[in-house]
């Protein structure tokens, strides 16, 4: 229930930069997921916010108050770790009432508060169990209840679901979202699972190499990735390299593919065109390729239940070009591997991003 502002935060270990002057602003009651590949600095940022790591430069404000110099115990933040964080010598109830207890609350008060929170996470009937008597998912619920028992300003979760199996993970993430909405606590959740991030966040913060690349709502992150890393990292995207030419992109084989008008001011630059699989339509090749479409070969078709996902090779384009197409499974029989097809899409579907100078070969 407080805003969080990290300003100019950087950290390096033995001269190796782990966080490079990073800014993050969170609104009240917002849930932000820190998403990025392993080793990109997510945990480091979270622990700087929690106070376990002192940043080399920069400040952290909570609710407008500078907490950079405060120890973790004075920051009013709840933290949930990946696993094994419950005190093994205490029951679920005793774990949850630990915070109120060390804060000196009356025992009846502690027990009442802990009982409410165990109710909230749906474990009221397990209050007298020890951690080793509970499943991984139950343990993480208790850890969540324990973190919330101190009425924190900010809730910090470091990959809280990644040690759980798939089904429990799905269930628990919905529950984290519900509880976060109910308690309205400002929350940072670290994850390397993009589906998790997209499904429960108000906003997603994509990190790579110690930098924040984009902070935006899940749908903006998915539809308008700010750069090529985000576009590649989030979801599946076909990539078509070319050169911007007016409101279109020219491929290396000469094909002109229409794009949205915004491309016009990049005219003449190397760009990449990103296409989500759900936007690509296929037709069996019947001799000619209509304008705005590309000839392709089906390389592989993966049955995913209601959908079938087809991977396409583009024989006339450079090697790193490629496309994906999703189609209802009942149509998939027409597109077996080896089939020649034409791929086309609505002209507003592609998202075009200029290739960074350093990246251009």
């Amino acid at each position: 229930m407080a805003t969080v502002e990290a300003r100019g935060v950087s950290k390096s270990y033995q001269g190796r930069t782990v966080l490079a002057s990073l800014d993050l602003d969170m609104g009240e009651a917002e849930l932000i997921c820190l998403l990025g590949p392993s080793g990109c600095g997510k945990t480091t940022l979270l622990r700087i916010i929690a106070g376990f790591i002192t940043p080399d430069t920069g400040t952290v404000h909570v609710g407008g108050r500078d907490v950079t110099a405060l120890p973790p115990a004075a920051r009013k933040m709840g933290m949930v770790f990946q696993a094994y964080s419950l005190f093994p010598n205490m029951t679920a109830l005793d774990n949850v009432r630990f915070g109120p207890r060390v804060a000196g609350q009356a025992k009846t008060e502690q027990v009442k508060r802990a009982g409410e929170l165990l109710d909230l996470v749906g474990l009221a009937q397990h209050r007298d169990k020890y951690p080793h008597q509970m499943s991984g998912g139950q343990q993480q619920r208790v850890a969540l209840a324990r973190a919330l028992a101190v009425r924190p300003d900010v809730l910090l979760l470091d990959e809280p679901l990644s040690a759980l199996d798939a089904k429990v993970r799905l269930q628990l993430r919905e529950e984290i979202r519900r509880i976060q909405r109910e308690t309205k606590v400002t929350t940072v959740l670290v994850t390397h699972d993009q589906e998790e991030a997209l499904s429960i966040s108000d906003r997603v913060a994509v990190m790579n190499g110690g930098k924040l690349l984009q902070v935006a709502t899940p749908s903006v992150i998915y539809r308008q990735p700010a750069d090529a890393f985000v576009a590649r990292f989030i979801g599946l995207a076909g990539i078509l390299p070319g050169v911007a030419e007016g409101a279109a992109v020219r491929m290396s084989n000469g094909t002109i593919l229409p794009a949205d008008a915004a491309v016009a001011h990049q005219s003449g630059r190397s760009v990449e065109m990103f296409l989500r699989p759900e936007h690509v339509r296929l037709q069996r090749m019947n001799g000619h390729v209509p304008p705005g479409a590309l000839a392709a070969d089906v390389q592989e078709a993966t049955f995913l239940g209601s959908l079938t996902r087809v991977r396409l090779r583009l024989p006339e384009l450079p090697d790193h070009a490629g496309l994906w197409a999703d189609m209802p499974s009942e149509h998939a029989a027409d597109f077996a591997p080896g089939q020649r097809v034409t791929a086309h899409w609505h002209e507003t579907s592609p998202h075009v991003i200029a290739v960074e100078a350093a990246q251009a070969s």
Binding site: P71, M77, F81, S85, P88, N89, V102, H132, A143, V150
Partner: protein
């Protein structure tokens, strides 16, 4: 069932799937080795112990309790008391000092080289005991020891102040030399098993370092501390060489008393020695039983 029978690699199926050629003959060697080991243990460990028990209650005329009753005699009670006090004192010092050393050494703030130096020195010192240890301390703190003489030349006469290496205090100081490193070796794994998540969670929830230790650290360590104390108690209680070389019988301890009987240095009957030995075993069993009860209570939250 039928499925299990057709699975070639059943966990418990070793015996069934041993190649037929080995048959019963193949079992002779394994079982005779196992049998030999158990027989040796029965003959040279169990039988002597039973013999002691029998001998302590028999004399020329058959069953008697007089030797066990003699354990209530004044000098024997002193020996029991000395042995138990020495063992408890040196084990307590070992647990506290060794525990603290281990705790500080594994702290991330300590250089890693210091940590491995302490680990390997502990392994050596825990095994550097007995006669050589006794003489090392005689060379240091004996009446003519280097440290005693050095202090004397500085005007401090520790023997004049009432200290003696050949007293209970002296023995405790010497025993600490193997007890402390023993504790460091035993307790380090238990300390390393304390997860940083517990400490950070407690800190995050507003607990002080003292509250962390009182409410989480020590309760979690308690079973390990109890078993470490028992091990240290036992190692001091059964120590003979160090005491023998240091005190030459000045201080009555159970181990030296039994040795005196055995070597005929004192005019006691062998039955007295047997009764003393039985007494020692009873003390050890009692200590184990008590500690097991404590340990069960301390680890009721455990698997």
């Amino acid at each position: 069932m039928s499925q299990a029978a057709t699975t070639p690699l059943r966990r418990d199926g070793v015996v069934h799937k041993r190649p037929a050629s080995q048959g019963v003959a193949g079992l002779i060697l394994p079982y005779s080795v196992i049998g030999l080991f158990i027989a040796l243990a029965a003959l040279f460990m169990a039988a002597p112990t039973v013999m002691l028990a029998v001998q302590s209650v028999t004399d020329d005329h058959g069953f008697t309790l007089k030797y066990l009753e003699a354990l209530g005699g004044d000098n024997i009670v002193v020996a029991f008391r000395n042995s138990i006090v020495l063992s408890i004192a040196s084990a307590a010092i070992g647990v506290v000092a060794g525990g603290l050393i281990a705790y500080f050494v594994i702290s991330p703030a300590m250089p890693i080289t210091l940590r491995s130096a302490v680990t390997s020195f502990s392994a050596v010192a825990a095994n550097f005991a007995g006669v050589p240890l006794a003489f090392a301390f005689v060379s240091t703190l004996g009446t003519l020891g280097m440290l005693t003489q050095g202090l004397r030349s500085l005007g401090v006469d520790i023997y004049g102040l009432g200290f003696s290496l050949f007293s209970m205090t002296g023995l405790t100081i010497v025993y600490a030399y193997f007890q402390i490193p023993l504790m460091v070796i035993i307790i380090t794994p238990a300390l390393l098993a304390l997860r940083t998540e517990w400490r950070e969670s407690s800190e995050n929830l507003g607990a002080t370092s003292g509250q962390y230790w009182r409410m989480i650290g020590l309760p979690v360590l308690l079973p390990s501390l109890i078993s470490a104390f028992i091990l240290l108690f036992g190692s001091a209680f059964s120590a003979y060489a160090t005491a023998y070389a240091l005190t030459s019988g000045n201080i009555a301890l159970l181990t030296t008393e039994i040795a005196n009987v055995l070597s005929g240095d004192v005019s006691s009957s062998p039955q007295t020695g047997a009764a003393l030995a039985v007494g020692m075993i009873v003390v050890m069993v009692g200590v184990l039983v008590i500690s097991a009860a404590f340990s069960r209570r301390a680890s009721r939250w455990h698997k």
